[in-house]
């Protein structure tokens, strides 16, 4: 019964909408055109994961092979290695990079010299504005085993005899790779926590102080619980991204000596695809990565909402 009513109204509503908002619809044409040409038009290309795609033969000439490509990649040692590295390094990233901005925000919040605080913040934000190319080339320049300044200083102080291969031996590389990421994100990551801290009720601090709670107790019992929600949301969001991989970050820190760890999904996709011409395999891995990634993000969003936090979508 009601259906009929809404259907009738629908036509009228459309007429009114077009008459009132045609200019808005015209505006929408530009972004819609862009996503259709550059995003949606690429989706049909995904059918090559079910093909043995040969660039010379194109989509029409290549053979359909069903799920063979997926069977191939799951047996591929290179793929397994890149998957393992991606997951391990993303989890390690989370483990070492996540807590630092929280601690830094707590420290910054306790600084009572506004000038000092402001200058510190500005300086700590710097790495966020630098490209991975700059970060990578600076790191190579100062960490070189023989002529890098870090090794020279350590040698002059008599702490080491030989230069440490910070970026050219896989275990050292793993540590450097993780710590450089901490360094890049630590200052910028504080912004959200500092904002959350300002919304903690000031009365709580007063009451605690009257009760004789010291600085550490106030930090632990008031500030931290006050920003718990933000911490949980960000943690879940980050967990949703464990399948991702940042090509530029991996690429600038890549070299033959550290390939065993540096070989992650983004590198696999690039090297197999554009480098090696194995288009179907590369695309299948990319599809696998984005589907699992999408599922994780949706799961993370749901979990966050269930816990009563704002979702991300």
């Amino acid at each position: 019964m009601e259906n009929k009513g809404t259907k009738y109204k629908f036509k009228d509503r459309m007429k009114i909408a077009v008459k009132r908002d045609w200019q808005l619809y015209i505006m929408l044409l530009l972004p819609l055109l862009l996503v259709f040409i550059f995003n949606y038009a690429a989706y049909p290309g995904l059918r090559m994961v079910f093909m043995d795609y040969k660039p010379a033969k194109g989509y029409d000439g290549s053979e359909w092979v069903g799920f063979e490509t997926f069977q191939k990649i799951f047996k591929d040692v290179d793929f397994r290695r890149s998957l393992r590295n991606s997951i391990v390094f993303n989890l390690l990233d989370l483990l070492v990079s996540f807590p630092v901005p929280i601690v830094l925000a707590l420290i910054l919040n306790e600084i009572r010299f506004p000038r000092f605080k402001k200058v510190t913040q500005t300086i700590l934000y710097l790495p966020h504005f630098l490209s991975w190319v700059i970060i990578g080339s600076v790191a190579y320049a100062i960490f070189r085993p023989n002529s890098g300044v870090v090794n020279i200083v350590l040698q002059n102080m008599g702490l080491i005899d030989q230069g440490i291969p910070f970026l050219t031996e896989k275990w050292h590389w793993a540590v450097s790779y993780l710590l450089i990421n901490v360094w890049q994100g630590m200052g910028w990551g504080t912004i959200i926590y500092l904002a959350a801290i300002t919304s903690v009720d000031g009365e709580l601090y007063e009451a605690a102080m009257i009760d004789g709670a010291g600085r550490w107790k106030r930090m632990w019992h008031i500030t931290l619980p006050g920003i718990k929600g933000t911490i949980v949301t960000l943690l879940i969001m980050n967990l949703g991204r464990v399948m991702g991989s940042n090509f530029e970050r991996l690429d600038v820190f890549g070299n033959t000596q550290v390939r065993e760890f540096q070989y992650q999904l983004a590198i696999y996709i690039y090297e197999k695809g554009l480098g090696g011409g194995r288009f179907s395999m590369s695309t299948a891995v990319g599809l696998f990565q984005s589907l699992v990634g999408l599922m994780l993000v949706l799961l993370a969003d749901k979990t966050a909402k269930k816990l009563g936090e704002d979702g991300l979508i």
Binding site: M14, D21, Q23, M27, L30, P31, L34, V35, F38, N39, A41, Y43, P44, M48, I107, L108, E110, I111, R112, F116, T122, I123, L124, Y125, L126, P127, F129, L130, V133, I134, G136, S137, V138, Y140, I142, N146, S147, V149, I152, L167, G187, I192, A195, D201, G202, Y205, E206, R215, W216, E248, D251, N255, G273, L274, F279, S282, T283, G286, L291, V297
Partner: protein
């Protein structure tokens, strides 16, 4: 509004109390020390490289350069300028970044403004269509083949067109429009017979200057800093952006750096000095402008974190 002022007053009161009660203690010194160390890690590498880039070769080879230059010479920079390729890329990158930012802002406003109107028929469908690419991309090879068919490979346009519409930036701008443009203002303009375009240009955009600044900086810095698409889609040297140029010149782990400057540049500096100079040449512009940009960035982060 009243509530907010009361709250800030409370916080002020609390910090006054803390200022009065808590004197400067060891814990303050420890915390400030930690911050100073961390800041040093952000600054010293660049001071070192700057010093190296204007030092005499002999001191560099003798490993005597730390934070101050010795035997000051600008040879490395003059070879960079004589060679010209980095200078050219810098200009080219500026032009690409400007075009990219302008087109990006256009497409962003065109998407964000209509979608910020709750009354818009079909709003959910359009929002879905315009957001979906953020969560699921086709991947490198399908995009590569698409750009090939569109004749975009190895042209400057491949660095511009595919990325000018950004769902993330759109979301931030949409959120800002929704929460900062009073509906009543728009309604009264409507009653006075204003069209949507007039409302956009006379009311919405002038009220949104902060977010316009923020999003254009997101676009500009994003384009300026990334190089992966250069590596994927560009072959011709003149069409590569400066970040990729620098990457090709210096990003290599080997001790003996080969740095590719032309014969005409008359290179007298060692690769190490030249490399330091090239890094500084690309980094200095960013270091000079970021202190002024950061407040806009912080604003964008805050809006992005809340979302609507």
């Amino acid at each position: 509004m009243e509530k907010q002022t009361r709250k800030t007053k409370k916080i002020d009161a609390a910090s006054d109390v803390s200022r009065a009660i808590v004197k400067f203690r060891i814990s303050d010194a420890v915390m400030m020390f930690i911050l100073v160390i961390l800041c040093a890690t952000c600054i010293l590498p660049f001071i070192h490289l700057a010093a190296k880039s204007i030092s005499n070769n002999n001191y560099v080879l003798a490993k005597q350069i730390f934070l101050l230059p010795k035997g000051i010479t600008f040879d490395a920079y003059s070879s960079i300028f004589k060679d010209g390729s980095l200078v050219y890329s810098m200009g080219y990158s500026v032009v690409i970044t400007l075009v990219f930012t302008a087109l990006g802002m256009l497409s962003c406003v065109c998407a964000a403004y209509p979608l910020s109107k709750k009354r818009l028929e079909g709003r959910n469908i359009f929002t879905f269509l315009l957001m979906f690419p953020m969560y699921f991309g086709a991947g490198l090879i399908p995009s590569y083949l698409l750009y090939y068919r569109l004749n975009l490979l190895d042209t400057p346009w491949v660095l511009i067109l595919p990325l000018i519409y950004s769902p993330y930036n759109m979301l931030i701008m949409k959120t800002y429009f929704q929460s900062n443009i009073p509906i009543s203002l728009e309604e009264s303009a409507f009653l006075d017979g204003a069209t949507n375009f007039q409302i956009l240009f006379k009311i919405a955009l002038p009220l949104s200057k902060p977010i316009l600044a923020t999003i254009s900086l997101f676009y500009a810095v994003g384009r300026w800093n990334s190089y992966a698409d250069n590596k994927y889609f560009i072959r011709t040297d003149q069409l590569k952006l400066i970040q990729y140029k620098l990457y090709q010149m210096v990003s290599s782990a080997t001790e003996a750096q080969t740095i590719s400057l032309s014969e005409a540049a008359n290179v007298t500096s060692t690769p190490e000095v030249l490399q330091a100079a090239a890094i500084m040449f690309v980094t200095i512009p960013i270091i000079c402008v970021y202190p002024f940009l950061q407040k806009y960035f912080v604003k964008g982060v805050m809006i992005g974190a809340i979302k609507g």
